[in-house]
């Protein structure tokens, strides 16, 4: 018996000792980091020329060489160029085409290609290369985007004419997404797969170790001017917290704030870190199921819209990663937006009276409204791995309980979330506003959420369908703008959607990284590295 008691005390002491040693080890390594960083400060004092080499912690691996399919969305713009590109402010600008024009009938687009441009393997860039690329994309991954293309014609070495089956006013914008980037004809195999990463972009892919790192060297002959940075190393670190710790320890110089909410909030307070941010093109939305359940009634939808104070909760909870909603789209689409419309403002009294009007009353006195014996219980479906949506949804749940709505949160993985969206298996669903890949939101209505032919349609009406179809064939700038505004006004009037926040593009970096300009476009985010220097 005594022996056992002794053993117990002994093991207890051992446990305490072990826990103590963990703490000690933790402190020890902290000191190590500190002393290492002071050493590097000292060596900088000796004015050795800093090698222009930057290490970036990236969430996603390179994944493949094909900009059209496999390659990570975010690094394509470093290796490849498009015919037409979006600049840092999300405006169309010359890429591999210097200039372009649309014919009177909108069916022929003529591109003047940039001269004296070489692919990384030395192949010259010309109209033939462009034709090969477009032909392959038409059949493959660019199918949806190039569906209107009838024929690609090589007029001369640096002039390309694209004939369309029907007029497409936004065809130049349709060429900007990075998955329509131009690849060296030598990189394609017989089936049209890309076997090597050979583009015209500011950086060349040097090596790639799967799931570990990929390295890029600068392209000395880049037509936009040689980048200052000689070498980029992307370390693949999927977990945001681990990335943040690596940045803190000086193992990496820079990381994206994407899906790293708490990491960014913590890093911001450190003295040698800086944050570069800009409002991006995408927004986060909540859609209502307008076809069944309590949200069939527009007044219930409006009540929810008035009951959530996005202007208060978004800046408080998401800080640098998002901006409170201002309009139907993010600022990047200002020139298409209807500035007469406003989003519903926070007003609990109005929300309550709207619900009352719709026949929902708290008969039983339990704080939850009822109508015809049915309680007002609804589900909000959201992505399980989306930290921002998760934290906001908890507050939304709380704010809706104040007007007597019992909200249940359903967390789904991204595949299941998309399935729920398509099958309308939700009362409310919180999801990113994809389908706005470039500077013209026209496709957002037709292929996105607002036309009855779309897979994802959220709310449709015959008038809305007519306006959207008219917008698609219209070639008159003035008329197009009016249609954009009319469509947005009609959607907002019926409240099938709540704009939750506009997402910021955020990059966190060590202070020694200078002149990094951040883009509005999500996919152009690393383009800013072209002018970046290291002090």
């Amino acid at each position: 018996m005594k022996h056992i008691v002794f053993k117990k005390y002994f093991s207890l002491i051992m446990i305490i000792f072990l826990m103590g040693s963990v703490f000690l080890v933790g402190c020890q390594s902290g000191e190590d980091i500190e002393s290492a960083s002071t050493e590097s400060v000292k060596s900088e004092g000796l004015e050795i020329i800093t090698p222009q080499h930057i290490i970036i912690g990236e969430q996603f691996d390179l994944r493949g060489y094909d900009p059209g399919s496999s390659m990570s969305d975010f690094v394509r713009a470093l290796i490849y160029n498009n015919l037409v590109e979006l600049n840092m402010d999300f405006e169309k600008s010359p890429g591999l085409a210097e200039s372009w024009e649309m014919s009177e009938d909108g069916k022929t687009w003529t591109f003047q290609l940039r001269e004296n441009v070489l692919f990384h393997d030395g192949t010259p860039w010309d109209a033939d290369a462009a034709k090969i690329n477009l032909e392959i994309r038409r059949e493959g991954t660019g199918k949806g985007w190039l569906s209107a293309v009838e024929e690609v014609e090589v007029v001369n070495t640096h002039t390309l004419a694209i004939h369309l089956k029907e007029p497409v006013y936004t065809f130049d914008s349709d060429l900007t997404p990075p998955f329509l980037a131009m690849v060296s004809p030598n990189a394609f195999d017989k089936e049209g797969n890309v076997t090597e990463a050979i583009g015209t972009g500011p950086f060349k892919l040097e090596s790639w170790t799967k799931d570990s790192e990929f390295i890029m060297k600068r392209n000395e002959d880049y037509f936009g001017g040689t980048p200052t940075l000689e070498k980029l190393t992307f370390k693949v670190i999927p977990d945001a917290e681990t990335r943040a710790l690596a940045l803190q320890a000086g193992e990496i110089d820079m990381m994206s704030g994407r899906e790293a909410l708490t990491a960014v909030q913590r890093l911001k307070s450190l003295p040698n870190m800086k944050i570069v941010k800009k409002m991006g093109q995408t927004s986060e939305l909540i859609f209502f199921n307008v076809y069944e359940g309590p949200f069939e009634d527009a007044r219930v939808r409006q009540a929810v819209a008035h009951a959530i104070d996005f202007n208060d909760i978004v800046p408080k909870l998401l800080e640098d990663l998002a901006e409170a909603p201002s309009n139907f789209f993010a600022e990047a689409y200002n020139s298409f937006m209807n500035n007469d419309t406003t989003l519903p403002q926070y007003n609990v009294e109005k929300a309550k009276s709207l619900l009352d009007e719709a026949g929902w009353q708290d008969v039983s006195g339990d704080g939850i409204l009822e109508k015809n014996g049915q309680q007002l219980k609804v589900k909000l479906t959201l992505g399980a791995s989306n930290e921002e949506d998760k934290i906001l949804s908890a507050v939304i749940q709380n704010q809706l309980s104040e007007i007597g709505i019992d909200l249940e949160l359903v967390h789904l993985e991204s595949g299941a979330l998309r399935e729920a969206l398509v099958e309308k298996n939700y009362d409310m669903i919180m999801i990113g506003q994809w389908l706005v890949p470039h500077d013209d939101p026209t496709n957002h209505y037709l292929r996105g959420y607002w036309h009855s032919d779309s897979t994802y349609s959220i709310y449709t009406s015959p008038e809305l369908d007519a306006s959207i179809e008219k917008l698609h064939i219209s070639l008159d700038t003035e008329e197009r703008l009016n249609l954009h505004r009319k469509i947005q006004a009609e959607i907002l009037e019926n409240t099938p959607v709540l704009v939750v926040f506009h997402r910021n593009n955020v990059m966190v970096m060590n202070e020694k990284v200078e002149n990094f300009e951040i883009s509005t476009g999500t996919w152009q985010i690393f383009r800013g590295l072209v002018n970046t220097t290291i002090r």
Partner: protein, 289 residues
Amino acid sequence: MEHKINLTQQVKTYKSLNIHKVFKDKMALVGCVVLILVLLLTAMAPLLTRNDPVKVDLMERLNPPSRTYPMGTDHLGRCIFARTLYGGRVSMTIAIIVLIIILTIGVSIGLLSGYMGGFIDNFIMRVIDILLAFPGLILALAIAGILGPNLMNTMIAVAAVQWVGYARIVRGMVLSIKEKDYVKIASTSGTSHTSIILRHILPNIISPIIVLATLDVGSIILRIAGLSFLGLGAQPPTPEWGAMINDGRSYIQTAPWVIFFPGAAILLVVMAFNLIGDGLRDLYDPKSV
């Protein structure tokens, strides 16, 4: 004859030692005190704090411990003290319910299998072998994942995995007791199967089962907290220790109190149950007498 006298003596010493020994085993006593303290605290939660465990207050986010918030606030400004106390109710109630389910299923199947023998025994044992061959947590994860995340399904998932061990142990004990003289006599004198099981076998296996169950409460609490941590258990805004740790995980560097207190609560309760279980085992272990 001599043997029988010996037995009765042993039983006597057993009983007379019980109370005395409980107090002698200091670690078990510590376990008891901690557990009673925690139970009292959670039971009196509404008296101890006026803060609502699910009330969101964005002005009070990630506050360190203070007078109004004795354990600080989490990322939504909810009082961690209140959440830990109310979370204890959820965690422990669920653990007890799961335990009752497990015991009912495990003991009855074990009894059936051991007593009936033959084909039924074989069949049940093979099913149990298959279940044991799966890693328990992964099976629980799969079940909770298929049924969908909520507390009820978590309980089902944990119970579905955990009953197997009991069935096996009970069967083993039944097999040995079945061969005892008094069971054979009862059987020959025409006692029904039900009363043999209930009167002669069950009382003889119940004490080791209680020991085992006490030791297991800890692991059940841990498993439920684990599933909640992975988002498969308690759904927001229900306070639950595992889910609270998951919520606070990202703030471990800036606001360690968010995960410290629920973590400490789990540690204390699981340790208390294990210490009590250990003590009970020593108590019933014939070798230590």
